[in-house]
Symmetry: C2
Subunit: 146 residues, 2 copies
């Protein structure tokens, strides 16, 4: 349904990355800490953050004092980057009626209408930086967890 635009893995990843961006210290943050703060299963979150590490968005460190940290400045990471890293590059190309090969040549009857909305969503996600969201959460005391 509308609202399932992001997989759970993706929304978990987003919340974790925003959380990391809010962190003052420059040290690594253990995934266990993140998982308890955000109320997300530790092992599940571990896998998701591994994907972000593979994608070059995070860096990780094993052992004591280990954990994860942002690999680049939070102002240079967008919501879009996280979505692509976790849900894959096909996340913004699917037909709303699920017709295979629906495109501008042989479109479904909702193709143009949906393409417009999808482009707006894509633009919005490219616009929103992790840094900006982290500041919003700090200043307006918004929620990231339960």
């Amino acid at each position: 349904m509308v609202g399932d635009v992001l997989s759970k893995a993706c929304s978990y990843g987003l919340r974790a990355v925003i959380s990391l961006a809010m962190r003052q210290e420059s040290s690594y943050q253990p995934i266990r800490e993140l998982s308890t703060t955000l109320g997300i299963s530790f092992h599940f979150l571990t896998k998701i953050l591994q994907q972000l590490t593979d994608a070059g968005i995070l860096v990780s460190q094993k052992g004591p004092k280990g954990g994860v940290a942002l690999a680049v400045d939070a102002s240079r990471v967008s919501v879009y980057d996280i979505v692509i890293a976790i849900d894959g590059s096909g996340a913004f190309t699917a037909c709303i009626l699920g017709l295979p090969g629906c495109g501008s040549r042989v479109p479904c009857p909702l193709h143009e209408q949906w393409a417009e909305e999808r482009l707006r969503i894509e633009a919005m996600m490219k616009e929103e930086s992790i840094d900006g969201l982290a500041h919003e959460v700090s200043s307006r005391r918004l929620r990231l967890g339960p």
Copy 2:
């Protein structure tokens, strides 16, 4: 991911209803015909169309010469009506980060941005009538099946 805004059940239902609206004859159309034309599993489509019958969007008739038909004029049925009937009334209210109780009082950092997009999608789906889409498919020879 983006593109999974509608469940498969919902997109199947939409395609079937548009197909019904394109029909010239005023008789019932057997679900079996619809399922073969659209390339959808017969039994699965049967269940979905039952939901639309329960919702008062279709009428059904058992036995020979039976099948389903639109209960009201196609111009008075919108895409939104179908989505609500199949995916439920909560289809347009979920938080994009999956936070329970995310609302204007205690929002997630993407609440306002997503609310805007969601409202646009809702408006688009209310705007698009089954009748209009059916005519589009006829005149522009668009696809509803594989």
